[in-house]
Amino acid sequence: MISRASTRGRSGALLAAPVVLVLALSPFLGAQQTDRAKRLGQRMMCVCGCNQILTACNHVGCTYSHGMLKELDGRIARGDSDEVILQSFVQEYGPTVVVDPPKTGFTGLVWLVPIVAPLLALYLVWELVRRWRQRATPAPAAEPSLPRELLDRARREAGPQTDE
């Protein structure tokens, strides 16, 4: 037998768990603000073939990332806008330098399909479930098993005693 007090104690321990978790994360709430170079660097890929974000590529001996980051700093110091900087990098290194594919034209499909496909799949599942449930409903008998006169008489007699 479990006493109510001990049950409350365990419930309290269970409810304390989220508090501990939140407190564990709270020292990180004051995360630093990234500067503009870091933010822009995260919108570009290193073109050395490592397939990493520009600011994340720290391959020792990478012949691209250091120069690209210096160039980025230089353009920011010159006062270029974000879009101008991105376009200049595309001109220089090709379209693979941009992390996010453009949302227009053929490359827009990369964004569109992962949204449309699950919705389509959801619709198909919904349709499947609907069909299953329809099949699960028993079909009414084609002919009543009792003579029609007998059924009519039973309905008349039961009518006053039953609600619609």
Partner: protein, 569 residues
């Protein structure tokens, strides 16, 4: 099942052909001169192992991932055999359940070891970059997870037979696709060291496998009719259905993003990059919905769940989750996804704990034992179900660990001896630079003292090594890992302008939860594969029964309840 042997042999013949005739691992390096004579390239001791792979986890990461990939061949072979032979019932599923779980477990461990290697060796401060080869390992893991869930629908209700067969087929094909992405270099990756020119072989094999699967299914599709229909949308069946839908959506999104650069180049002639932000934007909401289903699904009843049962099972976990969210908001949490992840993690954890507690309480009150003994007894009576809950809890820990990345901080600085770098609560003071060397490499090493609140806490020694044989450099990261945060310090090289060493420090919260969650997942999988205690009693009873006629009727009656399997999912 002769078809099983044929299928396994077919797969084996393909790989043995590759190894023996196409890309032998014992190939001689060199070439023919104009006269046709073969000149063997001679290196006294070779170039050594790729420096990136000179790390102890690399001894076990590839074979473990390999076991995951190859393990999925067994359920594939049994599914194919059941279909071709039109074997009745779900016998192939019972036979392959442990095989599937073992393969899935190895795949999980292989992926996590790869992530840990990337974290400890590549030195960019993270563990998952959505690299095409990482994605290739994730894809069969996702479909394998979907199969492990949907297979229960077939076992319990005789439903989703076509779906299950195709999930196994797709999982196997994704294993082959993953291998081909790693080995062919179709997409650019940090794993380029494994590239060779065997792409056409792999894609031909993949095409043949797909056609065989399609033909086998088409010819025998009438054998796969469902025995039952869905009775209610609020039921275990529908939760599995949605769980599978979400997992397949995630799988498709990852596959789509991975292969889109190739598709774009084929259609428009321009190769583009699909980087981590795409995968994060698409997959994070999907993963969170999956986390929600992880909490909801196991507590719904088969066929139909009543309102009372819903209220009974979900009220307190829901209150706990919302309370955690309110508390987090009060403490200043403003990032949407980590907040949702926190709420759902608490919700799922409480549903799991409540499930153990409810079952344990019944046994405790009946047997007069304490609750912990009762929970142990409960778990051992239905290892599959409660092992599954342990796996779910491990996944919750992994989700919490991943959500910590929203709070990552980093600082980079050119440093000389005596310089300091501040990051979060830490101050890193540069004490010394030296150049230790071994027969294998020379190294630039920093000696850093870490202070917290003015008190010295630890010494860290990040390195930047150059391997002599290959003349390739790499970083050796210094990580101080605690359950709350990792202080991760990289010797990033030297500034080209000043020649001074560059130190890059990261503060990554909760990373350890990911590795610990992985261990919990492995333990849960082991538990789920363990035979039920009641099954052992069934065996014992059956053995006693066959031993003779001398058992008393009372003894037979006493053991009768054990003849009924109590295990359920």
């Amino acid at each position: 099942m002769p078809y099983v042997g044929v299928t396994l042999a077919g797969v084996q013949i393909f790989f043995l052909t590759l190894n023996n005739f196409v890309t032998s691992p014992f190939r001689v390096f060199g070439g023919a001169d104009p006269s046709g004579a073969l000149h063997v390239a001679r290196l006294s001791d070779g170039s050594g192992l790729n420096p990136l792979l000179q790390y102890y986890e690399m001894v076990i990461h590839p074979p473990i991932l390999y076991l995951g990939y190859t393990g999925f061949t067994v359920p594939f072979a049994f599914a194919m055999a059941a279909l071709l032979g039109r074997y009745p019932g779900e016998k192939w599923i019972h036979i392959t359940r442990r095989w599937t779980m073992v393969a899935w477990c190895f795949q999980t461990v292989g992926i996590l070891l790869g992530a840990h290697w990337a974290y400890a060796v590549l030195g960019w401060g993270g563990y998952w970059a959505w690299d095409p080869v990482e994605n290739a390992a994730l894809l069969p893991w996702i479909t394998g997870t979907a199969f492990l869930h949907s297979v229960m629908m077939q076992e319990k209700r005789g439903m989703m037979k076509v779906w299950n067969v195709w999930l196994v087929f797709v999982t196997f094909m994704l294993c082959i696709l993953g291998t081909s992405l790693t080995r062919t270099g179709v997409v650019s990756s940090v794993h380029a060291f494994a590239e060779s020119s065997i792409g056409s072989w792999f894609f031909t094999f993949l095409g043949v496998v797909f056609l065989v699967c399609l033909a086998a299914w088409w010819k025998n599709r009438d054998y796969l009719r469902s025995d039952n229909q869905l009775d209610s949308l609020v039921s275990r069946e529908s939760s599995f259905l949605f769980n599978n839908l979400i997992l397949l959506a995630a799988c498709f999104a990852v596959l789509w993003g991975t292969l889109f650069p190739v598709l774009s180049e084929a259609v428009t002639g321009n190769k583009i990059s699909v980087g981590p932000p795409f995968f994060n934007r698409v997959n994070v909401p999907i993963a969170l919905f999956l986390l929600f289903l992880t909490g909801v699904g196991p507590l719904l009843a088969w066929r139909k769940t009543s309102y009372d049962a819903l209220r009974r099972n979900f009220a307190w976990p829901l209150v706990g989750g919302i309370a955690a969210g309110v508390l987090a908001l009060a403490l200043g949490f403003r990032d949407f996804y980590p907040l949702v992840c926190l709420i759902l993690s608490v919700f799922v954890t409480l549903t799991i704990l409540a499930e153990f507690y409810r079952g344990g309480r019944v046994i405790a009150s009946r047997d007069g034992t304490n609750i912990l003994t009762a929970v142990g007894e409960l778990t051992m009576r239905n290892t599959r179900r409660y092992g599954g809950y342990v796996i779910h809890f491990g996944m919750v820990l992994i989700f919490i660990g991943i959500s910590g990345s929203a709070f990552n901080q980093d600082q980079q600085k050119e440093m000389s001896v005596g310089d300091a770098l501040s990051l979060g609560p830490y101050t890193i003071l540069c004490q010394n630079f030296d150049q230790p060397s071994t027969a294998n490499y020379t190294s630039d090493r920093a000696t850093l003292e870490v202070f917290r609140d003015g008190k010295s806490q630890m010494m860290l020694y990040p390195e930047h090594r150059t391997y002599l044989a290959s003349q390739v450099s790499e970083t050796i990261v210094a990580v101080e890992s605690t359950p709350l945060r990792d202080l991760y310090v990289v010797y990033a090289g030297h500034s080209p302008e000043t020649g001074r060493p560059v130190i890059h420090a990261y503060l990554n919260p909760l990373v350890k939860w990911i590795w610990f969650g992985g261990i919990v997942v492995v333990l849960g999988t082991g538990l789920a594969m363990f035979p039920n205690r009641s099954s052992a009693l069934v065996l014992r009873t059956a053995t006693e029964k066959t031993w003779g006629e001398n058992r008393s009727p009372q003894a037979a009656t006493a053991s009768a309840p054990f003849l009924q399997r109590t295990g359920h999912d």
